[in-house]
């Protein structure tokens, strides 16, 4: 081994405390990068393989009833390569001992069991035999409910019951994320899809020789929007409800949103860590170069070139970064696998393998090295530029100035120690600012860690306390006259009953459109009302609708303008709706208007789609059973169950996120404060020892050094709060804005938590350095160097 390499290893060992803290910051960044990226890559791969092998369609459309003969005309649309016509019908299902029966879809399966598009993946059992009353069921539901093959399942369609025997469980590319229409969270227990042979289903639904749903595969390079337009035109006379592409296919839409969020986080979060690592390397290496000034001169004097000496210091940085990378990759692989398993609970693929690609590992190492080199660049340039003859001489005394406080004349009463502290801080404003920024970043990361919990609490408060305030939600099988609500109000145990009209529409402005929901509120309604993100109930306008702000942006319209709406139920008529104003909705895209305004717009008597009930007792089982038995009722759901489910689903991920973010933030805080303190100590050892020699106590010199750190930490807190807010906003922005918008609430406790953890990290670092300060060897320090 070359002598220079031995120097490198021994320098590394000497710097172990600092090297370790830096390596840990790198490890955190690389860990998150590798974790998120590998999960992103794995999910993307699982999805692509799934979609390709199971021939996931490109375009989907729903129609009231179209003759099968139309198929050949659809096939003739330029760009279409394959057409799969089928039957789809909403249904509810009866399952023994389940008070809230599942809802979902009845779907047709070609009699030979092999759909040309959107093929099914058989998980257990066998395909149904046509004519035997057999069917397949979505595996997620079967597993959650412990459904046994051969068991009968009763489906209720338009009040008629029909029994199927389950022969197998399946996965479908259309239900990677199995979620019912209009739901905000998936519920494997309550959402199911049943696939039965088409001939039987057609007879049951009275759709023999017709179809009401289709999936289309496109040729490569097909003009998608043209195909959609052609398809809409062909289907319109048969009650076409608008064709849509993969991006709007519900399951794929959620999957896309999740992948986008992963991809964004996988880039943004590691950048914070690597920036901190680069900054720390800069601090530590600059100090090392300062201390090794005469060694650098000696190396150059004996004939080492600038390049060799510069590389030597870069190698030292590389060792620290590589140690961090290795730790980070190991951690990232573990973290990625855990995260992947978590995703596996929500997203169902036939083949779901976690893989960590070699290429990703190489990228991680490359990225961390690049950050390291970037951080070290300034110090290494100083090494290269240091003329050997100058390096032989002691460095010129640093130029100090009176600090701004002194120039303002408010220093008459401050101690010389305080003056030293402020001069040191103001002498290198850039270094001080970067230190403050570094600590502030850790404050920010801490806020992010807890913000997740705040976000969920805020959203839950908004959704479940302010917006949806009923105890039971009754969904009617179709719109009902208002007297249905009065009937509900007369049931025993019901305190208050209100109705809500919900109309699915396609809102359109020129070529831009979205499928959204219009809500019609009762005038004296208390259980549901439009509420802004900040929780303030809004008054509905006399004319027109309040429309989700985000939807206005998508459609590029402003309040006062009109949009075209196409009803997605009943008459499928086209209407014009006035936009009265924007509203910041928490979930989904919607328009909110008065029930009478809505009825007028639709040209109908006031109708209701949902019944909202408050009840006298917490025990609602009997009432639920009673409601469920009513033929006009499609489903009943209890508010408490929804809250429970929401809490259960978010609790685990919140716990994990908070834990990781806290560990990461501590790593950064300790890394920044400890390294700053160590560097300050070694650069000022002589000054401090001199002060001891002239009679200052240990406490007094500690106050000078630690005072500097203390001021930096204090300055960092407000900056960190601001950064935390900005990062929180950034993270919220990675959530699909068409699904959720979050109230930006950061609780006081979160700020306090971030401040306390940062102060604790600062204190711990201060104490570590204080120990060294107490052991300062006065004579040795004064003797070394010139």
């Amino acid at each position: 081994m070359r002598a220079l390499d031995k120097k490198l290893l021994r320098d590394f060992a000497h710097l172990k405390g600092q090297a370790l803290t830096i390596a840990l910051v790198v490890a955190a960044g690389i860990g998150v990068f590798v974790g998120f990226q590998s999960v992103y890559g794995s999910l993307l791969y699982s999805r692509d393989v799934y979609y390709e092998r199971y021939r996931f369609a490109d375009v989907f459309a729903n129609v009231e009833r179209a003759p099968e003969q139309l198929k050949s005309r659809i096939e003739a649309i330029p760009g279409v390569s394959q057409v799969y016509t089928r039957l789809r019908y909403p249904a509810r299902f009866l399952v023994a001992d389940l008070p809230q029966p599942p809802v979902g879809l009845l779907a047709s399966l070609p009699d030979d069991g092999a759909p040309p598009l959107n093929a099914l993946h058989l998980v257990t059992g066998r395909l149904p035999t046509a004519g035997q009353g057999e069917a397949l069921v979505l595996a997620s539901f079967a597993e959650k409910r412990g459904l046994v093959l051969g068991e009968p399942l009763v489906a209720i369609v338009d009040g008629n019951a029909c029994t199927f025997r389950i022969t197998g469980t399946v996965l479908s590319p259309e239900f990677v994320y199995p979620m019912g229409a209009g739901e905000i969270l998936p519920d494997d227990e309550r959402f199911l899809v049943l696939w039965a042979p088409r001939t039987e289903l057609a007879a049951m639904l009275k759709l023999t020789g017709a179809f009401n749903d289709l999936a289309v595969a496109l040729q490569p390079l097909a003009h998608q929007s043209q195909v959609l337009a052609d398809l809409d035109q062909l289907l319109a006379p048969y009650g076409g409800r608008g064709a849509y592409n993969r991006a709007l296919q519900p399951s794929n839409n959620v999957l896309d949103g999740e992948l986008y969020q992963l991809q964004t986080l996988a880039l943004a979060v590691p950048m914070v860590f690597l920036a901190v690592a680069a900054f720390l390397l800069n601090v530590v290496l600059s100090r090392l170069v300062h201390l090794q000034r005469s060694q650098i001169a000696a190396l150059k004097a004996v004939g080492y070139s600038n390049l060799q000496v510069g590389l030597h210091y870069l190698e030292l940085v590389s060792v620290m970064v590589l140690v961090g990378s290795v730790l980070g990759i190991a951690f990232g692989a573990w973290f990625g696998r855990a995260l992947h398993d978590l995703y596996g609970q929500f997203f169902r693929f036939p083949v779901q393998l976690y893989h960590l690609e070699g290429r990703l590992i190489l990228t991680a190492v490359g990225v961390s090295l690049a950050a390291g080199v970037l951080g070290a660049m300034v110090a290494v340039r100083a090494v290269v530029q240091l003329p050997p003859a100058e390096a032989m001489r002691p460095a010129a005394p640093l130029a100090y100035r009176r600090s701004i406080l002194e120039r303002l004349g408010i220093t008459g009463w401050v101690s010389p120690a305080f003056r030293m502290v402020t001069r040191e801080l103001t002498r290198r404003p850039l270094r001080t600012s970067l230190s403050v920024l570094g600590i502030a970043l850790s404050v920010g990361v801490l806020i992010i860690g807890r913000f997740n919990a705040d976000l969920t609490n805020g959203l839950m408060d908004l959704l479940f306390q302010r917006m949806w305030r009923e105890d039971l939600l009754v969904a009617f099988a179709g719109p009902r006259p208002e007297r249905a609500i009065r009937e509900l109000g007369h049931l025993p145990g019901v305190i208050r009953a209100e109705g809500l009209r919900v109309v699915p529409v396609r809102m359109r402005v020129g070529p831009r459109h979205r499928d959204v929901v219009l809500y019609g509120y009762q005038e004296d309604g208390e259980l549901r009302r439009p509420v802004s993100l900040s929780g303030v109930p809004l008054t509905l306008p006399e004319r027109g609708a309040l429309v989700t702000q985000n939807l206005l942006e998508i459609l590029q319209v402003s309040p006062g303008e009109e949009v075209e709406i196409e009803l997605r139920e009943g008459s499928y008529a086209k209407k014009t709706l006035l936009i009265a104003g924007p509203i910041e909705d928490a979930a989904g895209l919607a328009g909110h208007l008065r029930a009478d305004t809505l009825a007028q717009l639709l040209g109908e008597e006031p109708l209701v789609s949902l019944g909202l009930l408050t009840v006298a007792s917490r025990d609602t089982q009997d009432l639920e059973r009673r409601l469920q038995a009513m033929p006009q009722v499609l489903s009943v759901s209890a508010h408490a169950t929804l809250v429970d489910r929401f809490e259960k689903q978010s609790a685990e991920s919140i716990r994990v996120m908070t834990l990781f973010a806290t560990i990461f933030a501590m790593t950064i805080a300790v890394g920044v404060v400890y390294n700053n303190a160590r560097v300050a100590l070694s650069l000022r050892e002589r000054d401090l020892a001199s002060l001891r020699v002239i009679g200052m106590t240990r406490r007094e010199i500690s106050a000078i050094l630690l005072g500097e750190l203390g001021i930096q930490v204090i300055l960092a807190l407000p900056v960190g709060f601001w950064i935390g807010r900005a990062m929180a906003r950034g993270i919220s922005a990675t959530v699909d804005p068409e699904r959720f918008r979050f109230p930006m609430v950061i609780e006081t406790q979160t700020y306090a938590f971030a401040a306390i953890v940062t102060l604790a990290a600062g204190l711990a670092s201060g104490l570590l350095v204080r120990r060294k300060l107490d052991r300062l060897d006065l004579i040795a320090v004064l003797k070394t160097r010139e």
């Binding site: 060694q295 004996v302 004939g303």
Partner: protein, 235 residues
Amino acid sequence: MAEVVLAGRELTKLYRMGEVEVLALRGVDLELREGELVVLLGASGSGKSTLLNILGGLDRASSGRVQYRDQDLSDADEDELTLYRRRHVGFVFQFYNLIPSLTAKENVALVTDIVDDPLDPAEALSLVGLGQRLDHFPSQMSGGEQQRVAIARAIAKRPDLLLCDEPTGALDFQTGVLVLEVLERVNRELGTSTAVITHNLPIAAMADRVVTLADGRVQGEVVHTQRAKAADIRW
């Protein structure tokens, strides 16, 4: 007369130190001949270290010329100066400038790693009487021993020039003499042209030639027909 190995002509040097400008050399001429031992004498601030740094390729003159054998170093770039130092010059500094994290042998190996046909580090250390202390770190050695490691490091490359800046400046009398004996031996046995900077007048007695500097100029030159033995020097 022996061949001129290194020559400086009309050398001046102006440099900044902090906020102060210093004119360290004001037109100096100096030659160093094959196998010669020259002592540069002068008070602190007389410009002797600056001159040595320029001759050794550690620094550039503000004006004037430096010639090593038939190579003109006046306009040499950084790489050429590095090669010149690597191949031809051995330095010994007042504060040794050893790498504290490397043992005696490793400090010497720093040089033998990068030159052709060097001495074995152990052999170089034996030459300076440290054959028994190869694996000691600088912090485990006395000042005299550290300086001898520095000399071993300088001679391990078999340099043509040995440039020593106050080699005994940080040492007590007895250790200082020991170091001078090593320099004398290297000059005699290896025939290395040697320049020694000192402000310590008695050391001048061991030189072939003594050049006195004052205020950035050569003040006088004395040629000795007979050199005193290092062991006999007292101060």
